[in-house]
C-alpha cells in the first residue's frame, strides 16, 4: 500500500486536479447509487407490495407500505369479498412449503459443509496415493452442471420410489465440489498441519481431531459455506420440480411456479406478493445478518487475485 511518501505525492497530485477529481468522484457516486438503487429497488418494491391490496398494486407504484399486510396474510373477514389470504388459501400450503424448504435447505447445508469440508480436510492433511488425481477430478467436475445428469437421476429416483421424498434433494449435497474447493483453499491459507500433529501426539484419533479440534477452528469458513449452500438449495427450482409434485411436499419455488400457473386475471396481487415475500424474507434476513462474511466469501470461493 501507499507509503507516506507516495501519499504526500498523491495529495499534491490531488490538489493539482482537485476540481476534475471532485467531478469524477461525483459521477462515480451517482452512477454507483443508481445501480445500487436498481439492485435493491425490486426487492424493496416486492416487500412493499406484500403490504398493499390488489387494487392499490394494480393502479399505482408506491414506495410506502400499505396497511394490507394482515389481510394479505390471513384474509379479509370483515368485508364481503371472498379473499381468504395466503395462509388460509386451501390450495396454497405456504406454511408447509416454508417448512419443507427449511428442512431441505437446512439438511443440505449441514451435509454439504460437514462432508465436503471433511473431504477437503482429507485431501489437505493426508498424502495418500491418488490424492492428486482425486483433486484434479473434482476440479474437472466442478463446472459440470447437475442438470446434465438430471434425466438419469430422475429415472433412478423413480426406480427407487424416491419421488416426493426429500432424500434425492438432501443426500447429494454430501458431494459438493464447490464447497470442497472453497474449504481446500481456506485450509491451505489458514490450517497448519502442525495442529493435527500436535493432536496426534496427545493421542487424539483422526476423526476426533477433525470433529473436536479442526471444526471449531474452521467454524467461520464452515458458516459462510453453510449460508451459500442453504441459499442455493432454498432457491433451487429445477431439481425439486422434477422430484416433488405432491402439494404437501412442495418447496417455496414450486409454490411460486404453482401461483404462476394460475390465470393472470384471477390472481389477487396482494396475495401473490405475499407468497413472494415469504419466499425471499428468510434469505434476506440471513443476508443482512451476515453480509460482511458472505461478501468476503464470494472471492474466497474462486481464484485468488
Amino acid at each position: 500500500m501507499a507509503t507516506s511518501k507516495t501519499k504526500a505525492r498523491m495529495n499534491a497530485y490531488d490538489e493539482d486536479k482537485s476540481i476534475g477529481l471532485t467531478i469524477h468522484r461525483i459521477v462515480c457516486y451517482v452512477v454507483l447509487s443508481i445501480f445500487a438503487f436498481l439492485a435493491i429497488f425490486f426487492f424493496y418494491l416486492l416487500l412493499i407490495n406484500a403490504t398493499r391490496s390488489h387494487n392499490e398494486i394494480q393502479t399505482s407504484l408506491s414506495l410506502l407500505p400499505g396497511n394490507n399486510l394482515l389481510i394479505n396474510l390471513l384474509g379479509d373477514k370483515s368485508g364481503n369479498s371472498k379473499f381468504v389470504g395466503v395462509l388460509n388459501d386451501p390450495n396454497l400450503m405456504i406454511l408447509q412449503g416454508l417448512l419443507n424448504s427449511l428442512i431441505v435447505s437446512g439438511l443440505s447445508a449441514l451435509l454439504s459443509v460437514y462432508f465436503s469440508g471433511m473431504t477437503a480436510y482429507g485431501v489437505h492433511v493426508y498424502n495418500f496415493p491418488g490424492k492428486q488425481a482425486f483433486f484434479n477430478t473434482i476440479l474437472l467436475i466442478m463446472t459440470i452442471p447437475t442438470q446434465v445428469s438430471a434425466l438419469g437421476f430422475y429415472n433412478l429416483m423413480n426406480d427407487w420410489k424416491l419421488t416426493n421424498n426429500f432424500i434425492p434433494l438432501v443426500i447429494p449435497a454430501v458431494a459438493a465440489p464447490t464447497v470442497f474447493f472453497f474449504m481446500k483453499q481456506y485450509m491451505e491459507s489458514s490450517l497448519p498441519i502442525d495442529i493435527v500433529e500436535a493432536a496426534r501426539i496427545d493421542g487424539s484419533n483422526e476423526f476426533r481431531t477433525f470433529n473436536e479440534i479442526i471444526l471449531p477452528i474452521l467454524k467461520p469458513a464452515f458458516a459462510v459455506q453453510a449460508i451459500f449452500s442453504f441459499t442455493a438449495s432454498w432457491n433451487n427450482y429445477f431439481m425439486p420440480a422434477l422430484i416433488l409434485d405432491k402439494p404437501e411436499m412442495k418447496t417455496m419455488p414450486l409454490w411460486i411456479a404453482f401461483v404462476r400457473g394460475r390465470e393472470l386475471a384471477t390472481l389477487n396481487f396482494g396475495e401473490v406478493y405475499m407468497v413472494l415475500a415469504l419466499a425471499i424474507i428468510p434469505v434476506m434476513i440471513v443476508y443482512f445478518c451476515f453480509s460482511k462474511f458472505i461478501v468476503a466469501g464470494v472471492t474466497l470461493g474462486s481464484v485468488k487475485g
Binding site: Y29, L32, F115, L140, A150, R200, E206, V272, S291
Partner: protein
C-alpha cells in the same frame, strides 16, 4: 523444526496416517458415484436407446437405436434454436454485466478516487445474487404484464394501449437478460475487484508519473494483468448461462413465449424429462450440454492448474527446506 523431527521417527515405526485420507474422502466419493456418476452414465445410455412408457400397461419398452436419436435431434433442429435463445439471452445480459463490473471494480480499487462506502455498495449490489430467481422472475412478470403497473404508465402515453412485453421476442428476451444482469453484476464486480486489488500499486503509480491517462492505465496495464480472472469470469458465467432455467421458465410459465423465443436448453430438457417423458431425446440433449460444459471446464481446469503452478512450486521448495533440516 521440532515437528519434523517428531514425525520422522514415527515413520520408522511404521505408523502411517496417510491411509486415513481414504476414510475422509469416502462419503464424498460414494455419494458422488451413486447420485451423480451413475445418473450421468444412465443419461448417456438413454441417448442410445429408444425408451418409452406404454401408459396403458405401464410397460417400459427399450430398443437400441445407436446414433439415430442424435440424427433426429440435429435434423429436427429445435436444439439449435434453443441453444441460440440461451446464448442470445446470456450475451444480452453478460455484455452490460462485464462492462459495468469492470468499471465499478476499477473505480472501487482506484487509488486516485479513493471512494468511500465500498462495503455498502458491495453489500447492496451482491444481494440480488442470493434472492430466489423464481420470485424475482414472478415479480417481473407481474410488473411488466399487460395489466401491470409499468403498462399503466405506458398507457398514459399510448392512449390506453398496453405494450405486451411478453408478447414480443426482443422485449421478452430483454427482460430475462435484465434480470440476469441485475442478479450477477454485483458478484462479478466483487470478483474483478479482488483481481484488481492484486495489481501492484507501484506499477500503476509509475505509469501515472510517466503521464499515462486513466484510460491508458486501464486498457494497457490493469486489463492485461487481470486477464486470467476475466477468462475465469467469462467461462463460469457461460456455464451458468447454459443452465438458464428459473428466470425464463417462471416468466413465461414454462412456455418460452413468444413462439419459443425464450425457451432455453434446460427448459427443453425439463419438458423432455417431466412432460413428454422422451428419455432418448432428453439423453441426447443432456449429452450435448455435457460436451459443451466439459470443453469449457477443461479450459477452466487448465487455467486453474496454470494459476496453481506458482503455489505448488512454493510448496515444493518448502518441503525441500523442511526435509533438508
Amino acid at each position: 523444526m521440532a515437528n519434523a523431527s517428531v514425525a520422522a521417527p514415527k515413520k520408522h515405526k511404521g505408523i502411517s496416517y496417510e491411509k486415513w485420507g481414504y476414510f475422509f474422502i469416502a462419503p464424498f466419493i460414494i455419494v458422488y458415484l451413486i447420485f451423480n456418476l451413475v445418473p450421468l452414465l444412465q443419461t448417456f445410455y438413454f441417448s442410445f436407446f429408444e425408451k418409452y412408457t406404454n401408459t396403458a400397461t405401464w410397460e417400459t419398452i427399450e430398443r437400441f437405436v445407436g446414433f439415430d436419436q442424435y440424427v433426429n435431434l440435429f435434423t429436427e433442429g429445435r436444439i439449435f434454436s434453443y441453444l441460440g435463445n440461451t446464448m442470445i439471452m446470456w450475451v444480452m445480459g453478460f455484455i452490460p454485466q462485464i462492462v459495468i463490473s469492470l468499471l465499478f471494480a476499477y473505480w472501487f480499487t482506484s487509488v486516485r478516487l479513493r471512494l468511500k462506502g465500498l462495503g455498502f455498495f458491495k453489500t447492496v449490489m451482491y444481494m440480488p445474487n442470493l434472492i430466489m430467481a423464481a420470485a424475482f422472475s414472478m415479480m417481473f412478470m407481474l410488473l411488466f404484464s399487460n395489466i401491470g403497473p409499468i403498462n399503466e404508465i405506458i398507457k398514459n402515453f399510448t392512449n390506453g394501449e398496453a405494450f405486451a412485453f411478453m408478447g414480443h421476442t426482443w422485449s421478452a428476451r430483454g427482460l430475462v437478460a435484465l434480470m440476469n444482469f441485475l442478479m450477477w453484476f454485483g458478484n462479478t464486480t466483487i470478483l474483478l475487484m479482488a483481481a484488481m486489488m492484486g495489481v501492484d500499486a507501484s506499477i500503476v503509480e509509475a505509469a501515472e508519473i510517466d503521464g499515462c491517462t486513466s484510460s491508458q492505465i486501464f486498457w494497457k496495464i490493469v486489463l492485461p494483468i487481470i486477464r486470467p480472472i476475466l477468462i475465469y469470469v467469462l467461462i463460469t458465467s457461460l456455464v451458468g448461462g447454459l443452465q438458464m432455467f428459473d428466470v425464463p421458465s417462471i416468466l413465461t410459465n414454462g412456455k418460452g413465449n413468444p413462439n419459443d423465443s425464450t425457451t432455453t436448453l434446460i427448459m427443453y430438457l425439463n419438458t423432455l424429462i417431466s412432460r413428454s417423458k422422451n428419455y432418448g431425446q432428453g439423453g441426447c440433449v443432456s449429452v450435448v450440454i455435457f460436451i459443451i460444459c466439459a470443453v469449457l471446464s477443461m479450459i477452466v481446469y487448465y487455467f486453474f492448474t496454470d494459476a496453481g503452478v506458482e503455489k505448488r512450486e512454493k510448496r515444493k521448495s518448502f518441503k525441500i527446506a523442511k526435509g533438508g533440516k
